[in-house]
Symmetry: D2
Subunit: 114 residues, 4 copies
């Protein structure tokens, strides 16, 4: 679906879900940021105490992969909730960030360096 | 830009940035998840020790809002890096999650309840 | 118990627990740091979508307070695991940090300011 | 110092630092939990994009180790701030947690298993 789904489409869908529940009142930037951090921690938990090889192996298991994807969706969901609350364009924000990173990390200089 | 930018567009742009630097080798699910959590914490930091009112006031300041948007972009960037690494469709993941949440939290029952 | 329990006592108890399970092998600084972050997120979750007043009220409930204390204990436990893994003195680290903070934040200047 | 520093000593020192600045007013459980999570993320950041071997090597560098210890001290500091705010005994909390974990993870059964 990523090929034909715009950021506006996803944001609209998220906005409707929350409007139907009258949940926008809870979506202060402070709480939504905490929610993103909490979901990110749940995502991380899937890889805790595992080597990179063990993590990769676990992701071959469809059920485990589904759980990881589910946490990733939660991170994205709350990020879109924040974008809606702040009324900012996320595509523009990501593009602007990548442009700044192009300058900070010139490709020739940073190739292969973490 | 959100109106005409698809998730595939953004993912492609992120993928090109990383391919130009040969950085995909560092993007293990474990490290990318940690990166998302770190950026989420930096986002949270803007609201720390502030009441919701103070946070709202700070976001009226264009410079402070820009910093918050920048951290939000970082969270989104690394989430797309993870989607690329796992080769999963994020729109489908978000839509599926919202559908499950529709069932878990029926609108009539949950209206106005956190 | 805090009156007569030294940091060395607690660290020793944590070390014995892990030695009995041969778990030190998993306690890389990277994984233990992630574990601390995950437990901190679980702690935060108790206060999500709650105003400070609601959070305070919840902590009057003994069962809820016990859950919060339990997450706090987990954060502390993994911090002591990290101290053991790095073989550093945590009391000295905390004292040194407080001394630096005394200089960074002179009491007269910072009184009542976040 | 860990040998002769009690948890009460450290808590007292932290309490005095904050009282001198009249900072207890900011120490809601919600904000202190967020502060712990933020410091934990800063700790994690030292190990990001590094293999366990690279992390271990970095910790041989005294300056880098000092930074890691500094973040660890921050996690501990805020955990003690929370303990002071909630007025709970942290030694008792850690001991109780270890006892529960002894039952959940019998040593013979869990030896060497993450």
């Amino acid at each position: 679906m990523d090929d034909h789904t715009t950021l506006a489409d996803l944001r609209q869908r998220v906005a409707e879900f929350n409007a139907a529940r009258d949940w926008e009142q809870f979506h202060t930037p402070k709480d939504v940021s905490a929610a993103i951090a909490i979901e990110a921690a749940e995502l991380m938990e899937h890889f805790l105490w595992r080597t990179d090889e063990q993590a990769r192996a676990a992701l071959q298991d469809e059920e485990k992969l589904a759980k990881v994807v589910d946490e990733m969706a939660d991170v994205l969901l709350y990020t879109l909730v924040l974008a809606n609350a702040l009324d900012v364009d996320v595509s523009a924000a990501v593009m602007a960030k990548l442009e700044r990173n192009e300058e900070r990390f010139p490709a020739e200089e940073w190739r292969g360096r973490a």
